[in-house]
C-alpha cells in the first residue's frame, strides 16, 4: 500500500468521526482526543493509513471517535492486535490506546512485549489510576490506601509506575504528559510518531467520576511550577516559579535530590543536564514521586533503534533473495520422492 499525502490539509475536526462521544462530561479523555486530532492535523496524517487499536475500558473507546481506521478489541490485548496489523502492513501508522488497567493489569504482558520488540507503533496509556468503566475499582497504578468499592479500607498493594515499567521493558521512547496540557500534548504525539519503533506515552488523565483530583497536587495551575519538571534533552532539569529549583545527583550517591539555586552554595552549574539517551537517569526521573520530588514530564527517554517490523521484512527480503520462492508444486517435490507407474 502506498502512503500518499491527502490532497488538502485536514483540520483537527476532520479527524473526528460522526459518532457521539460517550465519555462522562468533564472526563480527561475529551482533551486527549482533541490533542490527538490536532497532532494528526499538524502532521498531515492520512486517515486511510492511520489505525487506532484499543483494548477495553473508557480510554479504549477512543477509536470510535476518530475518522480513521479503528479496532476496538478485547481487554488488554490491543498491543497484540496492533502487532499483527503493523506486521501485516508496515506502511500503516498504528496507534495503541488503553487505560492503566487495560495495559498494565490484564494486558501488562503484551505491553511489555510490544515495547521490548520495538514495534513501530505509538502506545498511548491513559492513566487515571482507577478502573473507570467497571465503576471505580482501584488499579495497578493506584496509590497505596486508595479507597474504592473493592478496597473500602484502602488498597494495600504498591502501585507500578507506567514509565518506569516501560523503561524496564527496554522501551526506546518514553514520555509523559497531562490530559489538559493542550499546549504540549500534540507536539509530544508528533515526537512519538516520528520516533521509529515503539513510542510509549503516559498521559495522566483525570477521571472526574471515580478519581477526581488524583493529580491535582501537581497539575492544578497553582501547583504546576513546583510540582512538575519538564525534561528537555541537553537542558538543565530546572523547575519552580522562577526556575529556581533543580535536580542534581547527591554528591557521592547514585540518587537524585531537589536543590535550590543560591542556597547552600548551589549554582546553576550543579544542576543535572537532561540526557534523554541515559536509561539509568531516565529510570530515576520517571520514578520521582510527589511531594518530595516534582513529576517528570516530556520526553524522559529516547534512544531509537531498529524496529521489529523493519527487521522482519528485511529478513524476508534477505531469505527471498537467497532462495526465491519456487512453485508450491516444486516445493512439495523437494526431498525424497518415488514414482509409481
Amino acid at each position: 500500500m502506498n502512503v500518499q499525502s491527502p490532497p488538502v490539509a485536514l483540520k483537527p475536526n476532520d479527524y473526528a468521526s460522526d459518532q457521539e462521544v460517550r465519555w462522562c462530561p468533564g472526563c480527561g479523555d475529551y482533551a486527549i482526543v482533541k490533542a490527538v486530532q490536532k497532532a494528526l492535523s499538524n502532521m498531515g496524517a492520512d486517515p486511510k493509513n492511520t489505525v487506532f487499536v484499543s483494548g477495553i475500558g473508557c480510554a479504549a473507546r477512543f477509536p470510535y471517535y476518530m475518522a480513521t481506521y479503528g479496532f476496538h478489541t478485547i481487554h488488554g490485548r490491543a498491543p497484540a492486535v496492533a502487532t499483527g496489523v503493523k506486521l501485516a502492513n508496515p506502511d500503516l501508522d498504528v496507534w495503541v490506546i488503553g487505560g492503566d488497567g487495560d495495559m498494565l493489569s490484564i494486558g501488562g504482558n503484551h505491553t511489555l512485549h510490544v515495547l521490548r520488540r520495538n514495534i513501530d507503533v505509538q502506545v498511548l496509556l491513559f492513566n487515571n489510576e482507577i478502573y473507570g468503566l467497571t465503576k471505580g475499582q482501584y488499579s495497578p497504578t493506584s496509590k497505596v490506601g486508595t479507597r474504592s468499592p473493592s478496597t473500602p479500607a484502602g488498597s494495600v498493594d504498591s502501585p507500578v509506575s507506567a514509565c518506569v515499567f516501560a523503561l524496564g521493558c527496554n522501551a526506546r521512547f518514553v514520555a509523559r504528559s497531562v490530559d489538559t496540557n493542550l499546549k504540549v500534548l500534540p507536539g509530544l504525539m508528533q515526537e512519538a510518531k516520528e520516533n521509529t519503533g515503539a513510542s510509549f506515552v503516559e498521559i495522566l488523565q483525570n477521571c472526574i467520576v471515580y478519581n477526581d483530583g488524583v493529580y491535582s497536587s501537581f497539575t492544578d495551575k497553582a501547583n504546576i511550577a513546583d510540582g512538575q519538571v519538564v525534561c528537555e534533552h541537553g537542558k538543565p532539569l530546572l523547575f519552580g516559579k522562577e526556575n529556581e529549583k533543580g535536580l542534581r545527583m547527591t554528591p557521592g550517591k547514585m540518587e537524585l535530590e531537589v536543590v535550590t539555586i543560591g542556597e547552600n552554595g548551589v549554582t546553576e552549574a550543579d544542576i543535572l543536564i537532561h540526557d534523554e539517551t541515559n536509561r539509568p537517569l531516565a529510570l530515576m526521573l520517571a520514578g520521582m514521586q510527589p511531594p518530595n520530588f516534582p513529576v517528570a514530564m516530556g520526553v524522559i527517554f529516547r534512544d531509537p533503534g531498529p524496529s521489529y517490523d523493519a527487521a522482519v521484512y528485511d529478513q524476508i527480503a534477505e531469505m527471498t533473495e537467497k532462495s526465491p520462492a519456487i512453485p508450491i508444486n516444486e516445493l512439495m517435490h523437494k526431498g525424497k520422492t518415488w514414482t509409481v507407474v
Partner: protein, 629 residues
Amino acid sequence: MPTNLIGTMATQLKETDESGREILDSVVIRFAGDSGDGMQLTGTQFTQSTALMGNDLSTFPDFPAEIRAPVGTTYGVSAFQINFASHAIKTPGDAPDVLVAMNPAALKVHLKDLVPGGTLILNLGAFNARNIEKAGYKESPLEDNTLDSYRVIEIDISKMTLAAVEHIDVTQKEALRAKNLWTLGLMCWMYDRDRQPTIDWLNQRFGKLPLIAEANIAALNAGHAFGETAELPSEISTYVVPKAKVEPGIYRAVTGVETTCWGLLTGAQKAGLNIFFGSYPITPASPLLHSLSNLKAYGVVTFQAEDEISAVCSALGASYAGSLGITSSSGPGVALKSEALGLAVVTELPLIIVNFQRAGPSTGLPTKTEQSDLYQSVYGRNGDTPMPVIAASTASDCYDCAIEAVRLATKYMTPVMFLNEGFLANAAEPWKLPDTDDVEPFPVEFASETEGFHPYLRDEKTLARNWAIPGTEGLEHRIGGIEKDYDSGNISYDSDNHHKMTKVRAQKILGIADDIPEQEVVSGNNSGKMVVVGWGSTFGAIEQATRRCQEDGLDVSHIHIRYIWPLARNLGELLKGFDKILVPEMNNGQLVTLLRSEYLVPAESLAQITGQPFKVSDLEREIRSRMED
C-alpha cells in the same frame, strides 16, 4: 474366511523370493528404547527407506513428555511403530510382529503388545542388574519364562557398536550413541531396506561433524553386516515385503504437519493473500510454526508471540489489515484464545485456528493423542459464537482440510477451527503428491466501493460482510467487540438488533452446509442395521474394522464426518436409516452428544481415552458385540 484362519495360513505357507527371502504381506515393527536411545530417529529413517521401497505404510511415534527422563526408567521409554505392507493399509497396526527393545524398561513396557510367537530383538548390553531392577523386574526376564512364547534374538548391541566404531576418533559416549543405527542396520538387512537414504541423511545432518557421521554410518553398516554373517537362530529369516499396488504418481512420505503447512500455503495462494502466522510453542503444534518459519520467501510472516492470546490477537490484527491470519496450538492454548475467537466471530474476520489436539484436560498427557476438543471447538466460547469446524482424518487429508479452511474463512468472513491431532501431526504415511493446479482459485476481493459502504454490508447469498482493509481510501471505519448495528455497522445496544445480528451470524455459518459435499457412506449400505460414525484420525481403524465385519456378512456401514460444524445437510436423514449408531471416539463421548442433540437419534458412544489410537481388533470386537445387543 474367519480372520484367525488367514493368520494360521500365513504362517504355514512360507513363500520365498528368488534370494530366499520370505515374502510377507505386511509387518508391524516397534522400536522401543530409552528417550536418549534415538528410537524416533531410527523409526523415521526406517520409514523413509520403506517409503522409497514402495510399500504402503503408517507410523505411530509414541514418546514421553520429558525430554530426557531418568535413564532406564519405564516412563522414559520412547517408541516408534511402523506398519508396512504390499497392500493398502490404514493404521499403524494393532500389535507388533517384531519388537526391538533397547533396554529392560522398553521390554517391560512393550512386551505385552507383541503378538504371540513374535520376534523380539534385545540389546543384551543394557540388561545389567541395575537396569533390570529399574525397569521393575524382580528377576531378569532373560532367565525366567517371561520370553518363552517369543522368538528371541539377544545381541549385545552396545558392545557391537563400540567395536564397529573403534577405529573412529570419537568418545565412548558418542560411540555408544550410534547403537540405534546399528540396530537400524540390522533391521534393514532383515527387511531388505536400502541404507543409502540414511547414509545421505547422516552426511547431511552431521556435515559439520564428519567423525560423528562416520561413526554412525559405520554402526549402520556393521548392524547390516552382522545380519549377513552372524549365525542367527534358524527360525529367524530375512523377509521381503513387496511394493504395494497403489495409484500411479509421484509419492513422498509425509507427516500431518508438512501437509498442513503446504495446504495452508496453497490455500493462501488460491485466495491471493499473504499468510500471517502467530503462534506460541506447545506440543504437538510447534512443528507447524517451525515449518512455516522456513517459508519466508512466500511472503509468510511468522510471529512467535509472547503467549497464546497474543498469537491469536496478532493473527486477527493481521486479518484486519488484509493478511490471512492463522494461529495454531493445542487444547490448553486454544482455551486461552477463546475470548479472541469471540472477537473474530463478532468482527467477522477470516482467521484459521489449527488445533493439534492432545490428551487433556489441562496439561493432560502432552505427547499423547486424543480427540477431546470437539466440544471446545463447537461450543467453547462465551455468547452465541458459531464457527465452522473441520477435522482431518489422515496426514494426506490435512492438506485438503487446510485449503478448505482457507476457502471457508475467506468466503464467509469467519474464523475456522481446523481440528488436527497429535497423532496426525507426527505419524508418517506415503502421499501421492497433488497438483496445486487442480484446486480452483478462490481469490479474495477487498471492498473498494465507497458509495453506500459500511463495514457490515453483507453478501446476499453467503451473508459474509465486506472486507475493507486499512489503506483503502474512503472506507475508514471502526470495528470491535461491541454489537454492531445491522444497517450501519456502528455500535448498537439495541436489543432487537442484537437478536437479529445473532441470528444472522448463526445463519451465515449454517449456510455453509450448502457449500460442502453431502455426507457419504465410506463403506457399506446407505441404511441398515448399524452404522459406525467416526471423525478425525480414527478413520483408518474404523474403516478396517467395519470392512472386516462386512466381509463376514455383517450389515454395518461406516460414516466419516469431516465437517463437524456445520454438519452436512443430509446427515440426519442418513443416520435415521440405521437401527444402531455407534460412535467410536478417542474422548469420553463428544461427537456422539452432538449427533444426539442435533438429530435426536439414539447414538451410542464407544469411548477410548488411553492416549493411544484405536486397535482395529478392539473396534471389530466391539462392533460385533454391540450388533448382538
